[in-house]
Symmetry: C2
Subunit: 258 residues, 2 copies
DNA sequence: CAAATAGTGTCTTTGAGACATTATCAA
DNA sequence: TTGATAATGTCTCAAAGACACTATTTG
């Protein structure tokens, strides 16, 4: 861990410590647009960003004003960055108990004009309905949801453009390779709801095809049909409900079909 | 990113900064034991650990002496943790240009008795032959390779037991779901060599079976046979050599067979 | 020849893919 | 009845799995 080299009194770097440790959060939500009654929703993956104010509440100039940024804040010594993320998220949006995942650390020298500041980045999955009650934060001039496709064109603070790219890469991979998709869905869901979630980040043919996907969902070892449970929220015909079960998903590129 | 709350003068946490930022490295290697001539090697995944000395070269007591630990050290403001890992690895083992991957951050309050120290953890893949020239570091009483199975029984410094568990989880998943296995192999390799690497971390039936795996390797989109290239290092019969090619591997648990 | 690994032949079974068909219900 | 989604029937084709067998080379 620490080598003696740094502990020796003559080592100049001994007392160089970071100027700050922050936790940033890429808050993703999927908005469902009900096109009509008795039909599966059109879903779209969106990222929540905050527009940095010109000045803080004391009247001092803010840093990187007017740019869009990920919510976040400084971590205190009494908490982990994950706990800080959870706390910030609650302060920002008023919601707690959200799925959070670490996906990277940003420590490039010069990434933050304020000094040597290390950012621990997470993504969060927030079901749309829980975002309704969100409230503005003190330095957040605006809070807005952006479809993940057209994020490139906005002016982003610090190195957040890069962080956001990685966040999208990670959540996309996790949605396809783990069962996090359940964080976007109700406890019980139909095949077309799961399909709509997956289609926000993939255009895979066998996921696009209704019949194929409806058949496939029955064979997945980590999803089970809930006998006798049906809903009419996606069609006039009562539709089978499914739930995720705790089953370890082991996969390998050396055994899968290609 | 930073909220005004922390910038206000009355906020006590404003000046609380970490006492250090370290980079730790889980150095993995696969040792090949040639059981006999003209046979595939028996391979085993091992992790390199350092035994912390009782005192440093100045005669001061060292922290966590006698315990096994991951190599690593403090990150300076002029570098990223990844660069620090690369530098430390070179100082420690004399080797450069090694595959490194970030897999986690450790920032639990109290994890390090010296203060609020954040560890950015990476794993490294070092081919066995490059470890031969490794040399002892100044505070490393001993350097040793441990098979990943029997790491639990050793006394580990700080929270390294936990970090190591995560490192093994991550490298295992990456070996099966990405093409990092190539980091353990020569440029050109036989099906049985790749098989031996994979069998260090899985007991999957279709990887264990020679015929099945020999057939499967020909169909993998990210591996190609190198026409006309054969070797006799794994058998008396000249054997086809393969190489990894740059092909994007997209997989999904919703489309794979289960 | 014996032994060991590499590689093929072939049969069975499973599931993916495609396409058509049926079921159910609201408007 | 129309229109929409859900669900099934069925056929084809590709690949997985299993097992036997052949090929090549060294000692």
């Amino acid at each position: 861990m620490k080598s003696n080299k740094e502990e020796k009194p003559y080592d100049v770097s001994r007392y160089r410590t970071p100027d700050g440790y922050t936790s940033d959060i890429a808050v993703f939500t999927i908005t469902s647009e009900k096109t009509k009654a008795y039909a599966p929703p059109k879903m779209e993956l969106k990222l929540m960003l905050i527009k940095r104010a010109q000045q803080d509440t004391e009247g001092n100039l803010n840093i990187e004003p007017g740019k869009w940024a990920l919510p976040g804040g400084f971590v205190t010594p009494e908490e982990t960055a994950m706990e800080a993320a959870s706390r910030e998220l609650e302060e920002e949006t008023g919601i707690a108990g959200i799925h959070l995942k670490h996906f990277g650390v940003y420590d490039e020298p010069g990434r933050d004009p304020r000094g040597w500041i290390i950012s621990n980045a997470h993504y969060a999955i927030v079901p749309e309905h829980r975002l309704f009650e969100r409230k503005a934060h003190d330095d957040a001039a605006e809070v807005e949801l952006f479809p993940v496709q057209d994020l490139e064109q906005h002016l982003l603070a610090f190195d957040h453009a890069s962080i956001i790219r990685h966040a999208i890469t990670h959540i996309t991979r996790d949605l396809l390779q783990t069962t996090v998709a359940k964080q976007f869905l109700p406890e019980l869901f139909t095949y077309s709801e799961l399909q709509a979630v997956l289609l926000t980040i993939t255009d895979d043919k066998s996921i696009q095809n209704e019949q194929a996907f409806a058949r496939k969902i029955k064979t997945l070892p980590f999803i089970e049909a809930v006998e006798g449970q049906k809903t009419q929220r996606t069609s006039k015909l009562p539709t089978q409900l499914y739930r995720f079960i705790d089953a370890e998903v082991k996969q390998s590129i050396y055994t899968a079909r290609h």
